[in-house]
Symmetry: D2
C-alpha cells in the first residue's frame, strides 16, 4: 500500500441549522478530484470529528467514498478513547470501503498512557483491523506525542504501515525514518515542515492547509520529486506564513474561511469553536492574495 503524496485533512461543512452538509462536502470533493491530491483523510482532527455524532460520522464516510475519484486513497480517522470502540470504528470504516485507518493516540488519561500502554492499544487495534493502520500523533490536540522509539517498535507489526506525525518536530521525524524499515511510511502533518521532511525521506503529507490550498501543497511535493529544489524552497517558505496564520493561529475557523475565500465550501465550525471575526477575515483575504504570484510561478 503506497501512500506517497499529499492528502487534505477534510473539513466537515455544516448547514445553517448546524447539521452536517453532505452537499457542501460533495462540492468540495468534486473540486479536489480534479487535483493531484493522493486521496482523502476523513474524520481527522480537522474534520471536527470529536464534535460529531456516530450517525454523522457514518454519513460522512459514505459520502466521501461515493464522491471520491477512483484513484484516490481513502483514509478514515477511527481512533476513539477506548480500545474497544477504536476497533469497532476501524472495522466499520473497512466495511464502508476505506483503505487505511488513521488511529490517533488515546489521550485523556495522559499520566497512565505510558509507552507500553499505548503500544498495547495500537497492537490490539492493528491485530483486529481488516485494513492497514496508520499511527496518528498529534500532540497539539492530545497532549501526547508518540516518540520515535515507540514508533520504531510498532513498525514491526505487519499491519502498521506508517505514521502521520503532526508534531512538527523534524528531529522526531528524522529519528523515526532512521529507525524504521524502508517500507514504513511517514506522512507529516505540519505544512511548514514538509520539504524538510521530504528531504529526509518522508513519503508524503496529510495537511489541513491542503483543504484550502491543495495545488500549492501538492506542488511542493512534485517539485521536490522532480529535483527542482530552489522552486520547492520558495513555495515552502510561502506556505510557512500561510500555515502559521491560517492553521496555527486561526484554527479550523480560519481554514474554513480560507476555503470560502477560494472556490470551496468551508462555512462555520461547530460550537464551542467560533467563526472568525471580520478583522481576521480581512487579514486572511490579504494573506491569500499575497500567495498568488507563487501559484503562477510554481
Amino acid at each position: 500500500m503506497n501512500l506517497s503524496g499529499v492528502y487534505p485533512a477534510l473539513t466537515t461543512p455544516f448547514d445553517r441549522d448546524g447539521g452536517v452538509s453532505l452537499s457542501d462536502l460533495k462540492h468540495n470533493i468534486r473540486l479536489y478530484n480534479a487535483t493531484d491530491l493522493a486521496g482523502y483523510v476523513v474524520l481527522g482532527s480537522t474534520g471536527e470529528s470529536v464534535l460529531l455524532s456516530h450517525a454523522e460520522k457514518e454519513s460522512i464516510l459514505e459520502l466521501v467514498r461515493d464522491a471520491a475519484g477512483t484513484e484516490k486513497r481513502l483514509i478514515a480517522g477511527t481512533g476513539a478513547e477506548s480500545t474497544g470502540e477504536t476497533i469497532e470504528q476501524t472495522k466499520r470504516a473497512a466495511e464502508i470501503g476505506y483503505h487505511v485507518a488513521l488511529v490517533k493516540t488515546p489521550h485523556y488519561y495522559k499520566p497512565s498512557y505510558k509507552p507500553h500502554v499505548l503500544a498495547r492499544h495500537f497492537r490490539s487495534v492493528a491485530d483486529a483491523s481488516p485494513i492497514p493502520v496508520l499511527l496518528y500523533s498529534v500532540p497539539i490536540f492530545t497532549g501526547i506525542a508518540l516518540e520515535s522509539a515507540e514508533v520504531i517498535a510498532l513498525s514491526e507489526h505487519p499491519n502498521v504501515v506508517g505514521i502521520k506525525d503532526s508534531s512538527g518536530d523534524v528531529r522526531r521525524v528524522a529519528e523515526t525514518i532512521a529507525g524504521t524499515p524502508a517500507d514504513f511510511q511517514v506522512l507529516v502533518g505540519a505544512a511548514s515542515t514538509i520539504l524538510s521532511c521530504f528531504v529526509l525521506g518522508a513519503a508524503g503529507a496529510i495537511l489541513a492547509l491542503a483543504s484550502a490550498l491543495p495545488e500549492k501543497c501538492v506542488a511542493v511535493h512534485q517539485l521536490f520529486r522532480q529535483g527542482q529544489l530552489e522552486k520547492a524552497r520558495e513555495l515552502q517558505l510561502k506556505l510557512v506564513q500561510a500555515s502559521k496564520v491560517i492553521v496555527s493561529e486561526m484554527g479550523i475557523a480560519g481554514l474554513k474561511c480560507a476555503m470560502d475565500l477560494r472556490e470551496y465550501r468551508g462555512g462555520a465550525p461547530r460550537l464551542p469553536l467560533l467563526p472568525l471575526q471580520e478583522e481576521q477575515k480581512k487579514q486572511l483575504s490579504g494573506l491569500l492574495a499575497s500567495l498568488e504570484p507563487a501559484t503562477a510561478r510554481a
Copy 2:
C-alpha cells in the same frame, strides 16, 4: 445549594465480560451511604466516563440515583466536547434527578479554546441547564486550566454555583476565592492540598481517593471544621503519600485496587487502561496498612 463537604469521584466497576457492573456499583454506594460523605460525583474523570457508551452512562446515573441515601447530594459529570452535546447531557442528568451538573472544559482544540471561547461555552450551558452548574478544571487530563480570572468572570452567572478545581494549584484556588462572591463554592480535587485549601475558605472536596478512603478524607474536613488543626495536619500529611502513590502514580487502576484491598469493589479498568501488576499491588497493600494507626488516632 450548599455543596460543602467531601465527595468521592465514583469509579465504574466492570464485570468479567467488560460490561458495567451495576451490582458492584450498588454495593459500593451502600457502604458509602453509611459514611459522612456529602454526596456522590458520577461520571467524572475517575469514573472512566470517556470510555463509556451513552447507554452505559444512563444506566449508571439511574443506579446511583436509586441507591444513594436521601440526604446525599448528586452531582453528574455532563461535559462533552461540543456545546450542544454538553447541554443535552446536562438536561438528561437533570431529568434523571441529579442536583448539580459538573461541566469540564472542552479540550481537544486547545489552541482555539481561548478564554472567551470557554466563557461562551460555559455561559451557553449554564443558560440552558435546569440545574446549577459546577465548573470543572482538570488540566492533568485535559491540558487546559481555568484561570482564576476566567472563573471570577463566570461566577457572576446566577446558575454557576462553583468550581471543582483539580489543578492542585493552591495559588489559583486562593486567587479564585479572593475574587469570587462568598457564596461561590470552591471544591478542590487534589487530596494532597485539601487542608491547605480549607484554610483559605474552600467549601469542600471531590476526591478520587475518597472512593477508597472515604472516612479519612471526610475526617480532614471535620477536624478542620472543629478547629483541631494539629490532628487535621497529621492526617493530611498521611493522605499526601497515599494520594501520590494511589492516584497520581497508579491512576484509576491503583484506586480500584485500593478499593479491592478494602471492602469496596474496584476491579479492573477498561482498556487501554491496564490493571496493576503484582508488584504494584504489594506496594499498595503495604501503603494501606501504614495508614491504619492514623484512623485510630483521628
Copy 3:
C-alpha cells in the same frame, strides 16, 4: 538553628550612575530592623545577584551584616553554577558573618542535572560549608525544581537544615514536610501560599513581597501562630492579589516601585530589566491603597 519566621528577600538599590547604592540599602535595613522580620536574605534572586559583580556582592554582604539588628538572622545567597565557585562563595559568606547559606540549584545544563548530579553538588557544598545550608528551589527562574524525594534524601545531611521552596507548589511542600525529620525547616517563597503551608507545618517564609510589605507578611505568620485563623485568612487573601500583581506580573521592577511608594528605597532595576511604565505605576499605587484597611485590622 531555628529559622522560623518571615524574611524579606532583599532588593539591591542602584544609584543614578547604575552602581550599587549602599546608603539606600542601609536606609531600608534600618526600617526593617524596627519590624518583626526574623532576619534578612541577601543576594537572592530578588537581589538581582546574577546581575552583580563579585566586588558588588561583597560590599552588599558587609553592609547588611553591619546594619542589621543584632537579633536578625543573616542568610546569604551563595549558589553559583559551578560546585567550586559555590563552595568559595559559601565560605566567604561565612567569613563575613552570615549564619546560613542559601544555595540554589545549578541550572544551565538542565538536561544533565539529573537528581543524582544535583544531590552530589549539594552534598559537596554542605560538606565544605562552615555554616548550615538551606537548599533553594526556584523553578520559575532556573527551570529546575527540587522534587520532594530529592529534598528528603538531602535532609539526612547534618549540615542541610532546610529548604526555601519557591515553586509555589503546595503539594510538593506537603510531600517534603511529610517525608523529612521534624527539625528540617521548610521556608516557602511564594506569598500567595504561605498560610496554606503554615497549616502543613512550614517553619516560615522568605518573600520578595516582604521587602515592600513586611508588616503584612509577618502578620499572616503571627496571626496563624496565635490561632486567629479567620484574620489570617483575610489577610492572606489580600496578599494573594498583591503578590500576583507586584511580584508575578511586574517582577523586580514592580517590587522596587512598591517600595518607593511606601517609605523604602527601591529605585530602578539593572538592565536588561526595565523599570515600570507610568500606567503600571498607577495600577500599583491603586493596589497598595486598597490594602490599607487590612493593615489597620491586622
Copy 4:
C-alpha cells in the same frame, strides 16, 4: 561577513587539577585546522563557559586566536546576564581579535524578559559592539526561545548579521528565513536537523557534535551544496542517532568522551557535571564504530 559552513562549538579541556588545559585545546585546534570546518565557536554552551572564571575565559580566547588556521572564522560567546557585562565581554572579544560575537539571550528573570525587553538588550549590545553580532537562542539551557517575529525585527539592525538557533525547531527556522533579508544568516545548532534546514536556506551550522565528528558534519553540508541529496540524506540519518545519544542524552560528558575515543582530547567536564560511567562509555564506543562505514562512503 559570510558565515556559511559548519563550525564546532568547542569544548574546554581541563587538566588533572581541574584547571583549563590550554595544551589540550591547542592539540584539538591543530587537528581541526586540517578539516574544512569554517571556523571556531569559543565559549559557547558546549565550552562550559558558565563554569569558567573571567581569567580562564580570556586565556581560552587568546589560545584559540593564536592556534586557529588563518582562514578560520572566529566566533566568541559573549552573552552575560546583564546588558553591561555583555557589552564589556563583547568589546574584549573584539580586542582579542574575534570576528563575530555570539550573544545568547539573558534568561534568569524569564517572566520579565518579554520580547521588547530582549529586543532592547540585543539592540544595546549590537549598538555598542565593534564586531557583528550573532543572536543565540538555546532554549534547552536557557528556557527562553527567540521567536521568529523577534528575530525578524532584530534582523533590521545593521550589526546583527544572523542567528544561531539551537532550538531544533525547523518550523521556527523556516519562519525566520521566510521573514528576514537574504543576507541574514541562519546557523542551526541541532545536528539532527541540519539537512532539513539547509534545504530551507540556512547558511550553516554550529554544532557540539562537530567537536567529535567534524568531517561528517562538514560532509552533510558539502554533499548538499553539491546536489548529492541522497548521500546527504544517508549521512544525516546516521548523525541523527549519534546526536541523540552523544549530545542530547549524554551531554557535554558524552561529547568529551566521544572526542577521547577519537583522536581529540576531551577529558572530564567540570563539577557539577559528572563524567560518563563505564557502561555509557561502552555504548558510545559501539555507536562510534557503527558510524564508520558512512565515513568511507561519504
